[in-house]
């Protein structure tokens, strides 16, 4: 019998020499990193160091000036078709005139539904039980963030790109984000989380990806 080493797993996300410039002014990079399934990586940097831009590039909203992004070993533009990326941006992506439940149903319609997930349990798990039929306009900033987090639980994406998920959240909200990240990682998902470093702690020590303003 011939024994062979197990093939090295393809990383969920791989960036090679990734750089982005706005109007010829470099925003970040060149950057090399890999993200394996089950990993949570904290993107650290000061204001203006390009954290949000990095997430937008990784989600495919912005086109990098140089470098490559591989998702499961495939080029990003193709891989996005297989529902791999969910972005939580600082805008929230919620309709204020619709209720929490209506917002989640729209997300399911557009992105699909993770197996075993449903809107009502998702709202319950972000501690918004009883707020299903309240228009999002009447929710507090922290509660809006929780609705956006509930959306992440519903969509099938394996890679979460979270832009400042801890902003506007109270202590229990911060714990909630950490719990969601942990269980997502245990399910085989991965996440890239930005924070300007003031208070970002996931349980255990996450890998850190420092971003520095390019000179």
């Amino acid at each position: 019998m011939i024994s062979s080493d197990p093939p090295s797993p393809i990383p969920l996300l791989q960036a090679e020499e990734l750089a982005y410039a706005r109007n010829d002014e470099p925003v970040f990079g060149p950057l090399d990193f890999t993200l394996n399934a089950g990993e949570v990586v904290l993107v650290e940097g000061d204001n203006g160091s390009g954290k949000t831009t990095l997430l937008k590039v990784l989600s495919g909203l912005l086109v990098p000036n140089s470098g490559k992004i591989l998702l499961n070993g495939e080029d990003l533009t193709l891989a996005r078709l297989s529902h791999q990326v969910a972005l939580l941006s600082h805008l929230g992506g919620l309709k204020l005139d619709l209720t929490a439940l209506e917002n989640l149903r729209f997300a399911i319609g557009v992105f699909g539904l993770r197996s075993g997930a449903a809107p009502l349990p998702a709202l319950a798990s972000v501690a918004l039980e009883g707020y299903e039929d309240v228009p999002v306009r009447n929710l507090s900033a922290g509660q809006k963030k929780r609705v956006a987090l509930a959306r992440l639980l519903l969509v099938p994406a394996a890679l979460w790109l979270l832009d400042e998920p801890y902003a506007n959240l109270d202590k229990s909200g911060i714990d909630l984000v950490n719990r969601l990240l942990d269980s997502h990682a245990r399910r085989g998902g991965a996440a890239l989380v930005t924070s300007h470093g003031a208070y970002a702690f996931t349980s255990g020590t996450p890998r850190r990806l420092p971003l520095r303003p390019t000179p």
């Binding site: 529902h83 805008l91 919620l94 204020l96 209506e102 319609g109 557009v110 699909g112």
Partner: protein
């Protein structure tokens, strides 16, 4: 995992936008009210002479509808862009052009359809001969669909800019003028007892082209302007 089909994604967009229109149904009547106000001004300014008004009635109705549509055009993507839901729609794995076509359809239903419903009243106020009314309605339906599709491409191009109102008007006007000429031309021909089928067929042909190409152009323009 249930990813859903493109059809279900479009249905989700249509359902959401209809719901949003219903929640803000007061706003949906603005274009129709604007058109009524514009049309009411004309007899007051020109005098109530029926023959004089009848001669220019079709033209006035079309200009009022076009300006009212221009007024409502900016709202097509503005709200979604400001609250980040447009970003989510762009990130959807389903074809962006189909999702945008759904948005354009609901925008047409909520802004142009009320205009079409009140336009017989407007035409009646201006003494448009009754036998021209069917031609007016058909050319209005063709023209407003065409205006919505062409306008959507221009809105998508200007969405990333602040205060894009003036630029949008400049972009849209050259595209709107031919539509106006053919649509009003059909009505004028009908009023004079001349054949009116040719301009309507031209509008129909342009609409068929726009139905296929405008959502694609809209998607491409949107991807450019949100970066």
């Amino acid at each position: 995992m249930r990813y859903g089909t493109t059809r279900s994604a479009c249905a989700a967009v249509i359902r959401r936008d209809l719901l949003l229109t219903w929640r803000r149904r007061g706003d949906a009547l603005n274009p129709a009210l604007f058109a009524i106000i514009v049309v009411v001004m004309f007899p007051l300014a020109l005098g109530p002479e029926p023959n004089q008004l009848a001669n220019i009635s079709a033209g006035i109705v079309f200009v009022a509808v076009l300006l009212a549509g221009l007024l409502a055009l900016d709202t097509l993507f503005r709200g979604d862009h400001e609250d980040g839901t447009l970003e989510q729609i762009v990130l959807s794995p389903h074809p962006l052009s189909m999702l945008l076509a759904s948005k354009i359809l609901v925008h047409w239903l909520s802004t142009a359809l009320p205009l079409i419903v009140v336009s017989p009243l407007l035409a009646e106020m201006l003494h448009l001969p009754r036998q021209v009314m069917p031609v007016l309605m058909i050319s209005l339906i063709l023209a407003t669909l065409l205006l919505s599709l062409l306008g959507a491409v221009c809105v998508a191009l200007t969405i990333g800019m602040r205060r894009s109102g003036m630029l949008l008007a400049l972009l849209v006007l050259p595209l709107y003028v031919p539509v106006l000429i053919f649509a009003a031309g059909a009505c004028n021909a009908a009023q004079l007892g001349l054949p009116f089928l040719a301009p309507l067929l031209w509008l129909g042909a342009a609409l068929a082209l726009a139905l296929v190409l405008a959502p694609l152009a809209c998607a491409a323009a949107l991807r450019i302007s949100i970066t």
